[in-house]
């Protein structure tokens, strides 16, 4: 049998003979690739009988074609003649499994439809926001419970996560912040030297790093590093039903998985923010010295004398709130993972995007708040 080609390239011939439509050749899924269905349907409309005596292979696709052509025939459908018993059985099976009429042609587009979809999205978004807030409430309540009963705290886990999200992030946060300080000093100097006000570069660096950039960029880095890790870790546990197993054993996943992560972030993000502030000021000082000739001593004197401590305070106050946002969103998205690998990937990326977005929104709200209270 190896001398006959397994896959036929021979097209199927269609001949109309009076009111008899004759099909010859291979009637298979391969033949269907080149088959002119419109022309065949045109011929079939004038046929009363479809004769397949001359076909030498019929598969499901071919049987479907026959049934579809026969339905076009005269007098409410042509008869199929000349099928072997095996082919007849196949044709009957396919006929029994034909698509129901008008199936798959759901109306899409149209104004009402679009409105309905928009409404559905908004409803879904609002539902997700409510869920997120209720998850936040659940975590806060659990933390409250732990404060009342400190023995419930998983200290080992907290320490482990402190190392993961805090200590291991120190190099990247330091480097990033140092470079930001360098860039600020360099760009600021270029502008300020036009007015002969080079020394104000110290104020520029101090205020922007301490108040905004140090903590904001640290939060963004941590959201990318740790928020995604939280989602992936909890999500894969959810996928393998570990979370359900915990519940059946009477263990609370929020206490065991979520609280240690959130607490670790709340503790470590201010610390990372402090490191970022120091590194940023250092970078600015180095650049000011190299590029503007502001000596480190002058830099220090101006920094200490001219910068309100509140600039640093404002940055540090924001840190725990950013940590809470990143931790809650990372864990919440992880808990939402369903049974398949695709949802894990999708929710991990949602987690990072959403937490960075929310951190920036929160930052804007803090700016308004501090402007109103006047610090």
């Amino acid at each position: 049998m190896s001398d006959t080609p397994p896959v036929s390239d021979r097209p199927c011939d269609v001949i109309l003979d009076g009111n008899r439509l004759r099909l010859a050749g291979h009637l298979t899924i391969d033949a269907l690739q080149t088959f002119d269905r419109a022309a065949a349907a045109e011929l079939a409309r004038r046929a009363v009988v479809i004769d397949i005596t001359e076909t030498d292979a019929v598969d499901t696709a071919g049987a479907w074609l026959l049934v579809a052509l026969a339905a076009q025939g005269q007098g409410g459908g042509a008869d199929i003649h000349g099928a072997s018993s095996h082919q007849a059985q196949l044709i009957d099976t396919v006929r029994a499994n034909m698509p129901p009429p008008e199936a798959g042609s759901e109306a899409t587009g149209g104004m009402t439809d679009r409105l309905a979809r928009l409404g559905g999205r908004i409803h879904g978004g609002a539902g997700a926001a409510v869920e997120l807030v209720s998850f936040l409430g659940q975590v806060v309540a659990t933390i409250g419970g732990i404060i009342l009963h400190p023995r419930r705290l998983r200290l080992t886990s907290v320490v482990h996560h402190c190392q993961e999200v805090g200590w291991n992030a120190v190099p990247i946060v330091t480097l990033m912040s140092f470079l930001i300080g360098v860039v600020l000093a360099f760009q600021g100097a270029a502008q300020l030297s036009q007015f002969g006000a080079e020394v104000f570069v110290v104020d520029l660096i101090a205020i922007s790093i301490l108040r905004e950039l140090g903590i904001l960029l640290t939060a963004i880095i941590v959201a990318g590093r740790s928020g995604s890790a939280f989602t992936a870790a909890i999500g894969s546990m959810k996928m393998r039903e570990e979370i359900d197993a915990m519940r059946t054993l009477g263990l609370d996943p929020v206490t065991i998985l979520v609280v240690p992560r959130v607490l670790a972030l709340i503790v470590m993000l201010p610390a990372l923010g402090l490191i970022a502030d120091v590194a940023g000021l250092l970078g600015g000082a180095v650049m000011a010295w190299v590029d503007l000739g502001v000596s480190p001593a002058a830099f220090q004197a101006r920094l200490v004398g001219n910068t309100d401590l509140w600039h640093f305070g404002v940055g540090m106050i924001k840190a725990p709130f950013f940590a809470l946002i990143i931790g809650i969103i990372g864990c919440y998205e992880g808990m939402k993972v369903g049974g398949n690998a695709e949802s894990l990937g999708r929710l991990t990326s949602t987690s990072v995007v959403l937490s960075i977005f929310m951190v920036i929104v929160m930052d804007a709200m803090f700016s308004i708040f501090f402007a109103v209270v006047g610090v």
């Binding site: 049998m1 190896s2 397994p6 896959v7 298979t28 899924i29 391969d30 269907l32 690739q33 269905r37 598969d59 499901t60 696709a61 479907w64 095996h86 059985q89 196949l90 099976t93 396919v94 499994n97 034909m98 698509p99 129901p100 199936a103 798959g104 369903g338 049974g339 398949n340 690998a341 695709e342 949802s343």
Partner: protein, 259 residues
Amino acid sequence: MADAPVIRVRGLVTRFGRHVVHDGLDLDVRRGEVLGVVGGSGTGKSVLLRAIVGLLRPAEGQIEVLGQSVRDTPPDAYRRLRRRWGVMFQDGALFSSLTVRQNVEAPMREQLDLPPDVMRTLAGIKVRMVGLPEDAQGKYPSELSGGMRKRAGFARAIALDPEIVFLDEPTAGLDPIGAAAFDRLIRQLRDALGLTVFLVTHDLDSLHAVCDRVAVLADRRVLAIGSIADMLDVDHPWVREYFHGPRARAAKIMPPEPA
């Protein structure tokens, strides 16, 4: 049935490291039959299946499917050969990012150049043939029950009307009613599409319901092959235990013991 066997395995040796799974295994599968492959855990039933479809390279031996060697074929011929069989893995192995209909369309999309509406209709016919409800077509594998996933996997395996279908434990993990329905489905599609079925199973009811012949894997080779009635006479501890055990009696392979 005086045809040449559609699958011919001669002197197959497979090993993982120093662990020998098959040692000189011979097997013939005839055209149009349902061959059940049974054996204890770790006797290499699934490994045999993987070797035959070319997922695993055996250490020695010849494997011919439809008269062509699986091992020593040029890639192009192997690709054409591969189209003539379909494989259903244990849990369906559906692509989780595609709906059931897209899963069944996937082989057509990759191998052929068909208009989208034809693919859609043909995939729909295949999904209905395996007895899935109409609304299952648009669902993702994670939204289906285990039995439905297996059916969808079967639909994908027969998407291109193969001549041979390999089924790896199709009824494992199904409830008895679902398993019996799957047995009926195998028989029905075998008759309708003229399939040859290579069925790896543990399920005695399945063996009894659908298999024309049974091959028993033990001691790193095919210990016995024949009808279930033949198996009752085989004198080997495992085969005796398997076909004479309480579960075999429950599956009515054995006449009940006189009280």
